[in-house]
């Protein structure tokens, strides 16, 4: 610890703390532009300058570490004059037209800094040389006229997303923000995660969907989580007049710390399906609007007699995007009440069956996401993180510059292959053979940390190479890399079957990283669904009725085909689809932003969503709809979800209360 005196206040801070952070701890606010709490210090804009006793010139507080007994003054006349001058230069560097800038009036950190310093005007006029506006990107616009070259976006794209799309070309006054080697934004390697727009202090990177829809102070912000995949990234849902305006990543969220992917940030703003706001009942062959009572009566009339009729009763299928409260009630109603033999989710266990089976044998075998921070080798198995669980992919990508070795093993094409130090593409169905081959290679190399090393491994390696179609040399190269790592982490996805997963767990154990597995689950509540046993294959067979708790999910082509000709089809859904068009009764339910409920993420973390929008009057929550149906047939949909989740061994420790 070192002592530092800032504006007369003496405090103790750990060595290496910057003057800026120390000042924050002392309760003082120093204005910044290039600095961002989630990015490494950069020291480019100089707005944060302070006076330090004994130092000849003003110093940038964001990148100056404190030294013992340092005396700092953050707001002297000299400092203020310097800051005004710095802003004056920044404003004259390019072209700022606040009256028609999207962020003017509160959301611009540059303008706010000027106003806080009492700047009523600019001493020097703008540059007047027109800078380009790049509107080639589907979701983002770069207006170089407003860019102050603070490089927050460049650093965020690299440090947080690991994508390194953005950079700065040229020097001094000719410096320009560029995408890749100078291609249009829309044709660049950008993955549209939007993190750059979230950190840009000015209106230089704005997102097209929410531009000019309202300053942050004119919107309401609701802290919630993204339901796009099983990662459960924390979001702020910005709404105005009960309309979705923007989604931002929550900096204080434990999973993603501010970063989101395109699926979480932008796709929900593109929603164009038609909303269902009133119950519908098929009369004379046509779906007609009805009251809840009428619809419940129509449903219960057909459903009630089917209770207990195994195989010819009611089959039920739910979306793994529903909150766990709804999933538990769904199970209670259809498994417990109707005693149906077919109660499952739209995923039919696809991304969880192998993990559940292994957990039943061994108990929890997975770790949480923090393991990735320390990993020096990441093995990606049967999942394309460029497409699925993308923020997990960002975590992997951003660790690569610090010399983390990436190994990709996938029988399918994989977007991470070009980034990998070793990429193995086993023949279809031979992932487990390849993994056993890696284990054999490691034993052959004498690098096994558990179990036996030995010469017998030679034959095993040879046959694995033959069967998997991977050269033995490659297996040895990749195996050596994994075995030499001190903290390898294995990320696996739904392309792994039980045999593959067991081989992966054995490989992990062999290199002394027994529980260092992370399993992607697919949907937001796939793990919860698996814990509730909602993971069987769906077959309609002789069932006389099918109940689909679709929520705001999209019904697959396959499901629609399977359900064609169902004698009686009930769907609870937020949006109309080909499935609701086939139904006999439709109950209108909430979409994600209207729902409050709980989700169990990839690492067993229990997180809540909060309702950011109010649904139309006729719309009920998924849980309320299920409970109403239960009441109408004289059954119960009450369930203690926490207890229900714990009934089965989980692949990862569940953080239940």
């Amino acid at each position: 610890m070192v002592n530092v005196t800032i504006d007369g206040k003496t405090i103790q801070v750990p060595e290496g703390t910057t003057v800026l952070r120390a000042a924050e701890q002392a309760g003082l606010k120093i204005p910044v532009l290039c600095d961002h709490p989630h990015l490494l210090p950069f020291g480019g804009c100089r707005l944060c300058v302070v006076e330090v006793e004994g130092m000849r010139t003003l110093q940038p507080s964001c990148s100056l570490p404190v030294s013992n007994n340092m005396v700092v003054r953050t707001n002297t006349e000299k400092v203020q004059a310097a800051r005004k001058f710095i802003l004056t230069l920044i404003f004259s560097d390019r072209n700022h037209f606040c009256p028609y800038c999207q962020v003017s009036g509160g959301d611009c950190e540059l303008q706010n800094a000027a106003l806080n310093l009492g700047m009523t005007h600019w001493e020097y006029q703008p540059n007047w040389k027109p800078y380009p506006v790049d509107a080639s990107h589907e979701y983002l616009v770069i207006d170089h006229n407003r860019c102050i070259l603070c490089r927050r976006c460049v650093r965020a794209c690299g440090e947080l997303v690991g994508n390194f799309t953005l950079g700065i070309e040229e020097r001094g006054a000719s410096s320009m923000l560029v995408c890749d080697v100078g291609v249009p934004f829309g044709e660049s390697s950008c993955v549209a995660c939007g993190t750059c727009s979230q950190v840009c202090p000015t209106g230089a990177i704005i997102d097209r969907r929410s531009a000019y829809q309202g300053l942050e102070k004119k919107t309401e912000s609701t802290a919630s989580i993204c339901l796009g995949c099983s990662l459960g990234c924390g979001v702020n849902v910005l709404t105005r007049d009960n309309r979705l305006v923007r989604i931002t990543g929550r900096w204080d969220a434990p999973v993603n710390a501010g970063v989101l992917c395109k699926l979480g940030r932008f796709l929900p703003l593109d929603e164009d399906r038609q909303r269902i706001t009133t119950p519908l009942v098929r009369k004379d062959g046509k779906l007609q609007p009805a009251t809840w009572d009428e619809a419940l009566q129509a449903a219960s009339l057909k459903l009630k007699p089917l209770a207990g009729k195994n195989g010819s009763g009611v089959a039920a299928i739910a979306s793994p995007r529903l909150p766990v409260e709804s999933l538990a009630a769904f199970k209670q109603l259809f498994k417990g009440g109707f005693r149906s033999d077919t109660v499952t989710t739209l995923e039919e266990g696809a991304s969880t069956l192998a993990a559940s089976a292994l957990a039943a044998e061994t108990g929890p075998f997975e770790t949480d996401l923090s393991a990735l921070e320390a990993a020096d080798c990441v093995v990606v198995l049967g999942i394309d993180l460029a497409v699925e669980e993308q923020v997990l992919g960002f975590m992997v990508k951003r660790s690569l510059p610090s010399n983390t070795a990436l190994v990709v093993i996938d029988a399918a094409e994989n977007g991470f292959t070009p980034l990998a130090r070793a990429a193995l593409k086993p023949a279809a169905g031979a992932v487990n053979v390849a993994l056993r081959g890696l284990s054999a290679a490691i034993r052959k190399l004498g690098l096994a940390k558990a179990g036996t090393n030995g010469k017998d491994a030679e034959a095993e390696l040879k046959s694995a190479a033959e069967q998997s179609g991977i050269l033995a040399d490659q297996l040895v190269y990749a195996g050596g890399m994994i075995a030499k790592a001190t903290r390898p982490v294995f990320i696996y996805g739904k392309n792994l079957n039980l045999a593959d997963l067991k081989a992966a767990a054995d490989l992990a154990a062999l290199v002394g990283a027994g529980k260092n597995l992370i399993g992607a689950r697919g949907a937001a509540n796939s793990l919860a669904a698996a814990q509730l046993g909602l993971d069987q294959p769906f077959k309609r067979n002789g069932h006389q009725a099918v109940y689909v708790a679709l929520g705001d999910d999209v019904p697959s082509q396959r499901l629609i085909q399977q359900l064609e000709g169902t004698p009686f089809l009930v769907v609870q859904a937020a949006y109309s689809s080909r499935l609701t068009a086939m139904a006999d009764v439709v109950f209108p339910v909430e979409m994600w932003a209207e729902t409050s409920g709980h989700y169990i993420n990839i690492e067993g973390r229990v997180q809540g969503t909060a309702a950011a929008l109010k649904p139309a009057a006729g719309v009920r929550s998924n849980l309320a709809a299920l409970q109403a149906v239960a009441a109408s047939v004289g059954l119960s949909a009450e369930a203690d979800w926490q207890a229900a989740l714990a009934e089965r061994k989980a692949p990862v420790a569940l953080a239940l209360s």
């Binding site: 606040c98 009256p99 009036g105 000027a114 009492g118 009523t120 005007h121 703008p126 007047w128």
Partner: protein
Amino acid sequence: MAKPKISSDWMCGCAGCHMSLLDIDERILTIAELTDIRATPITDLKEPDESGVDVGILEGGINNTANEEVAHRMRKRCKLLVALGDCAVFGGVPAMRNFFTIEEALRRAYVETESTDSEGKIPSDPELARMTRVRAIHEVVPVDIFLPGCPPDPDAIFYVLSELAQGRKPELKGDLLHWR
């Protein structure tokens, strides 16, 4: 003490700042009581008294030789000059035009505009003022008080006027200081 004389004029703006001035509602009576309102674009008298005024207010940037004349005249005849609104302070929205040459801007306005018929031509009467780049007022004449905003808040305008009326120099900050 005699009431301070106030005069205003507008140049390359949209009149919005003067609308915002009227938007101070009944407080205009307070101003009228404390000051002697002389020439403004919305009163009968159009030019500031040759004998001078205490406070001159100018809305809009300077975009031609006529504006230059207005600015110089006001500067000459007032003791304190107030730049009212973003156009006066920064150049504002009209200054976007500076991205183009004057010829391009004239051609766009008089020939290429969707509402112009094929006969459209650029006015060239020598009596007309000559167009220039759009400039903030302080690029042409010294300004004493900058009152930014597009338009400035009525509250900010009232604050500035009432301070000036009482012989104080206003200092905009906090909620009263904004650029739009």
